[in-house]
């Protein structure tokens, strides 16, 4: 079957989609967006987290046909998505604030969990610009990381929140 959806702000069409296929497979194998990772295919690890009509979901658990006509944001679209949110238009930022913070805080090791964590963390900061540690732990509880021990990831989200609130106050 054919599936139409908006991915990272652009209309996309995937052909010859098998009806039992996941949105994750369509993104990675048919639309050339391998940012969302496939680790478990059972909703346990969160490495495939994307926004579906704004809501963070595991792309491996969304049937491709369920995404028909919907808006999907993947890690590839995060810089533009975050910029549109703060400044109203999409400029040329290479990285979303949360991505820069992950790098600066040393929250990336092998990087396999990172795309999912970035999408989940960015959504948290959109909802809760000044999150408590409990908020951060809760928002990221569906994302597993086997490398970092999570402390640097928590640091990164705190850093992104602090930077965003400073720039928000300045503007």
């Amino acid at each position: 079957m054919r599936v139409n959806m908006t991915v990272n702000g652009r209309p996309q069409q995937a052909d010859d989609v098998w009806e039992g296929e996941s949105l994750l497979y369509v993104l990675r194998e048919r639309l050339g967006l391998p940012g969302s990772k496939n680790a478990c295919e059972q909703g346990e690890c969160g490495s495939c987290t994307v926004r579906l009509d704004g809501v963070p979901v595991c792309a491996c658990l969304v049937a491709a046909g369920q995404a028909e006509g919907r808006e999907v944001v993947t890690v590839e679209g995060l810089p533009e998505y975050a910029e549109r949110r703060t400044s109203g238009d999409a400029g040329a930022s290479a990285l979303a604030p949360v991505q820069q913070a992950f790098i600066d805080a040393g929250a990336v090791q092998c990087g396999f969990c990172t795309p999912g964590l970035l999408v989940a963390a960015d959504e948290l900061l959109e909802r809760t610009p000044d999150p408590s540690d409990a908020d951060i732990r809760e928002a990221l509880s569906g994302n597993l990381c086997r490398c970092t021990g999570y402390e640097k990831i928590l640091d990164a989200v705190r850093l992104a929140a602090a930077r965003t609130s400073v720039s928000g106050e300045a503007s």
Partner: protein
């Protein structure tokens, strides 16, 4: 494979009547795992996510009519006052991503003995509204579970909504697992005080082939509370009564040994959860929650 995409409820019922083998898919958090792992290769999927009304709820009179497709996140954020036990249970489901997609309709459809909505529905009191082109049936939730991962749906039927009694007193939900997030219950327990009818109801998960109520325990406690005029006095429940109640709750179980826990552990855990949830809810009642209903 076919992907059926009804735009409204009537179309969905017609599609299910024409293709009783079509597998409904709502949040997909059970169905997609089965597809991804090749555990299931249905001829057809029936996508219910285009049907707007399934994602809505109405709160009227004594019940909340919860559309089958309302995700757990909405129950937690918007229905925690009317449906406290279900909201508490919803909080323990999977992870934020799973709660954003997973639904009570899907939990009932899967009918796993470990489904977290079930104990809460049993304790609160609920009826499942199921429909087909032949008509609509209301099934008391106690009768909905017919076996391990089996339910009372006929092949042409779909779940439209669950009618859940609005809380008239304190409710609690408790679940045993290895960590807070992403845990299938080793066992779970819900308890609701119903001051309006001066009754207590329970729901036990993952400790029998189906979710069950501990009826003998409820009868015992109802009689003990009535005999001692506890609903009026709000006095502390004597420890011996709480202990006996908890033991009768464990007796209602028929657990198995599996990788998540032994049968003996499950029985023990149920006694602990029964005692604690009774303590918590009764304390809330003593502090005034639901007292007006009992006096009315």
């Amino acid at each position: 494979m076919d992907f059926l995409r009804p735009a409204d409820w009537r179309e969905a019922l017609a599609a299910k009547a024409e293709h009783p083998d079509a597998v409904p898919i709502a949040g997909g958090t059970d169905v997609m795992v089965e597809l991804n792992f090749d555990h299931r290769r249905p001829e057809r999927l029936l996508d219910l996510t285009r049907i707007g009304e399934l994602g809505e709820w109405e709160s009227g009179g004594r019940t909340v009519r919860l559309g089958a497709g309302v995700p757990y996140t909405h129950i937690i954020e918007r229905l925690h006052t009317e449906l406290p036990a279900l909201a508490l249970a919803s909080r323990t489901v999977g992870s934020p991503q799973i709660r954003n997609r997973g639904t009570v309709g899907g939990n009932l459809g899967a009918a796993s003995p470990a489904g977290d909505a079930h104990p809460a529905l049993l304790a609160a009191g609920a009826e499942v509204e199921v429909a087909s082109v032949r008509g609509t049936r209301m099934i008391p939730v106690e009768e909905f579970y017919t076996g391990v991962k089996r339910n009372a749906l006929a092949p042409d039927e779909l779940i439209r909504a669950v009618h859940i009694e609005r809380a008239d007193g304190p409710q609690q939900f408790s679940k045993v697992g290895t960590r807070n997030a992403m845990v299938i219950a080793v066992c779970a327990f819900a308890l609701a005080l119903h001051p309006r009818t001066r009754t207590v109801r329970t729901g036990i998960g993952s400790a029998a082939p189906t979710p069950v109520r501990a009826r003998a325990a409820e009868d015992f406690l109802n009689a003990a509370l009535a005999d001692g005029a506890f609903w009026d006095s709000g006095e502390t429940i004597p420890p011996a009564v709480a202990r006996e109640f908890a033991q009768l709750c464990a007796d209602a179980c028929d657990p198995i040994d599996d990788v998540r826990g032994s049968a003996a552990y499950r029985r023990h855990a149920v006694t602990v959860m029964a005692r604690r949830t009774l303590g918590w809810t009764w304390q809330a009642y003593r502090e005034g929650e639901g007292r007006a209903a009992a006096c009315a």
